[in-house]
């Protein structure tokens, strides 16, 4: 009796560990579902949209300009941010407001990316904290799943900030 209970328990624990590990690998190397919150990516992604973020292009260093990515916040490792990649390493970025007469430019240093939200007036991004290390990127958003009427890939950047 005791032996049977022990055997069942051990089997259950083994299966839990096995499927937990498979789930970890899938989330870590293939992709994961993310519920977005916050106004910084409107109108591309609005509050409570569900998106699918794939991990492979980050591991293979295939992130390109214009991709919407999820990254760890540089100031709080537990927090994730969702922004659009405006510039890769070596790119020249215009840091002044569009209304300014004198344009200021900066270059993205090696191993960094320049991130900006699509909602330029309500977004804390590289314009306030500077370029972000590439290694903080966690995944590229490739599909929007919910709400159903906007199912599909994401639209182009509405801000025309990508040079």
């Amino acid at each position: 009796m005791f032996r049977r209970v022990l055997g069942t328990t051990l089997g259950f624990v083994g299966y839990t560990i096995q499927y937990g590990c498979i789930a970890h690998c899938a989330f870590e190397y293939i992709g994961e579902f993310v519920i977005c919150s916050g106004p910084s990516m409107e109108p591309t992604i609005v509050n409570r949209d569900i998106v699918f973020s794939e991990r492979m292009s980050r591991h293979l260093c295939k992130i390109q300009k214009g991709d919407v990515i999820i990254a760890k916040s540089p100031f709080d490792p537990k927090l994730n941010i969702c922004k659009r990649v405006i510039g890769l390493e070596g790119d020249k970025i215009c840091t002044s407001a569009p209304s300014d007469v004198f344009k200021t430019h900066t270059y993205v240093p090696k191993g960094h990316v320049w991130l900006e939200g699509d909602n330029l007036r309500n977004s804390t991004d590289s314009r306030s904290y500077g370029p972000v290390p590439y290694a903080l990127i966690r995944g590229r958003i490739c599909l929007k799943l919910w709400p159903l009427h906007s199912f599909g890939t994401l639209s182009e950047s509405p801000t025309r900030r990508i040079i």
Binding site: Q18, G20, F75, P77, K110, G111, Y134, A135
Partner: protein, 168 residues
């Protein structure tokens, strides 16, 4: 003959199921709990518990750090191992950074190699985000005659400044 075919099939099935258990479990353990890595380069050489090139270390993936391997801010493919000198909010007297004194911003820390001048560390690229941290070196396991736990210790004259020193 038929018996051998079934035996072969049974072995194949055992191999496949074992493979599907072993690979995810290994990957998860390496990602989440601990992994081994070899030290390359001389940036950690002269002091304290002596990390030499080709030492094999074990890194439990956790939050306190002494030597921390982290993704290099300059090259995301590369991992670097350094000593944590200051945590967020600490004041640091820098060695060759553009500012003489630096307050480490929130969510960052100040890292330095033990071999000053031969190490690419915060003195050249500034404070590093905690999100880049990968783990903490806990033991030297190879070569066996130097098997030991790595303890947290700051090199002499390095480390965050005291508040009194700030005011004075």
């Amino acid at each position: 003959m038929a018996q051998r075919a079934t035996a072969g099939r049974r072995y194949l099935r055992a191999f496949v199921s074992g493979f599907f258990i072993a690979v995810p479990v290994t990957v998860t353990v390496l990602d989440r709990f601990a992994y081994l890595a070899r030290v390359e380069g001389a940036s950690m050489q002269p002091t304290a518990s002596h990390l030499y090139e080709h030492d094999l270390l074990v890194f439990p993936v956790c939050f306190m750090y002494v030597y921390c391997p982290l993704r290099s801010p300059r090259n995301p493919q590369q991992k670097i191992i350094k000593r944590v000198i200051g945590l967020e909010g600490d004041f640091i007297r820098t060695l060759s950074y553009k500012n003489r004194y630096v307050r480490v911003p929130d969510g960052h820390f100040w890292i330095e190699g033990d071999h000053h001048g031969h190490s690419l560390d915060s003195n050249s690229f500034g404070p590093v985000s905690v999100g880049l941290l990968h783990g903490r070196a806990s033991h030297i396991i190879w070569p066996p005659n130097r098997w030991q736990r790595i303890r947290a210790s700051l090199p002499a004259n390095r480390g965050p400044l005291d508040t009194e020193e700030d005011e004075g």
